[in-house]
């Protein structure tokens, strides 16, 4: 599960708002899609995405089958201090992936 994390601005000033954009490569199969032979492709989507800052949980996303393939998850936070963002994603089949990114201040 490939996860990308991007900050905008890349290096915010202390106290500034920063947009954290996460993109995960995942088919997000909704379980209702028929393949070329008409068979239903079993549901397989990320159902939990945890975001931590310096080890503390700061947000949880629970995507349903209605979240698009290769999903984008974006939120905003106040950049009070430099630290490490960690993203942990889990899907319905039990696969998981994680990624960290360092938030640096200007």
């Amino acid at each position: 599960m490939n996860i990308l994390i991007r900050f905008n601005p890349a290096k915010p000033k202390a106290g500034e708002e920063v947009r954290v954009q996460i993109v995960v490569q995942h088919p997000m199969e909704p379980g209702t899609r028929r393949d070329a032979s008409g068979k239903l492709i079993p549901a397989d989507h990320i159902n939990e995405l945890a975001v931590l800052f310096d080890g503390q949980p700061i947000a949880t996303v629970k995507p349903g089958p209605g979240t698009s393939a290769n999903p984008l998850f974006a939120f905003k936070m106040k950049a009070a201090k430099a630290g490490q963002i960690k993203v942990v994603a889990k899907d319905l089949t039990g696969k998981s992936g994680e990624r960290t990114a360092d938030l640096a201040l200007a």
Partner: protein
């Protein structure tokens, strides 16, 4: 993605012929095109244990989504809440016509996270998308936006 030419002219005609009978009644109730409260209700009850009548439309919730989507597979939505972060517990998003109306939930757990969330969602067919914001004091604030999913074909 070879020769993707969208035949929108025919799409427009099909959509027009479809909605003629329904738009009138929907507008009479002040509803949005494709509104399906009965189906939405299932999703609200499952996710929140509450119904549509418990939701309070609020100007503090800003939901941005396209009014027309070429594909229902990838519709960008952005939700911004005009309330202090410490008053907001979670942001939910629903679509009236999806078999599973709950598109996602976003829970704020502190640490400077602001009441804002953006993603891309699947919309089964022309219907309202709903942002529901749960506040710390137990209110459910609502913003709705109709999304028309273009019908058509590739030639």
């Amino acid at each position: 993605m070879n020769r993707r030419k969208f035949l929108k002219a025919s799409a427009g005609t099909l959509a027009a012929s479809l909605v003629v009978g329904r738009v009138g009644s929907a507008l009479a109730q002040g509803g949005l095109e494709g509104e399906d409260i009965a189906n939405l209700e299932k999703g609200l009850q499952a996710a929140l244990g509450k119904g549509f009548k418990d939701l309070v439309p609020s100007k503090d919730v800003k939901l941005t989504a396209p009014t027309i989507a070429e594909s229902g597979a990838n519709v960008p939505v952005e939700i911004e809440v005009g309330l202090p972060a410490d008053q907001v517990k979670a942001i939910y998003c629903f679509c009236d016509k999806n078999a599973n109306p709950l598109l996602f939930s976003f829970q704020l757990l502190g640490g400077g996270v602001l009441p804002y969330y953006a993603t891309r969602v699947r919309v089964a067919e022309t219907a309202p998308v709903r942002a529901v914001v749960e506040t710390k004091d137990g209110k459910l604030l609502l913003a709705s936006q109709g999304v028309r999913v273009t019908v058509g074909g590739c030639g």
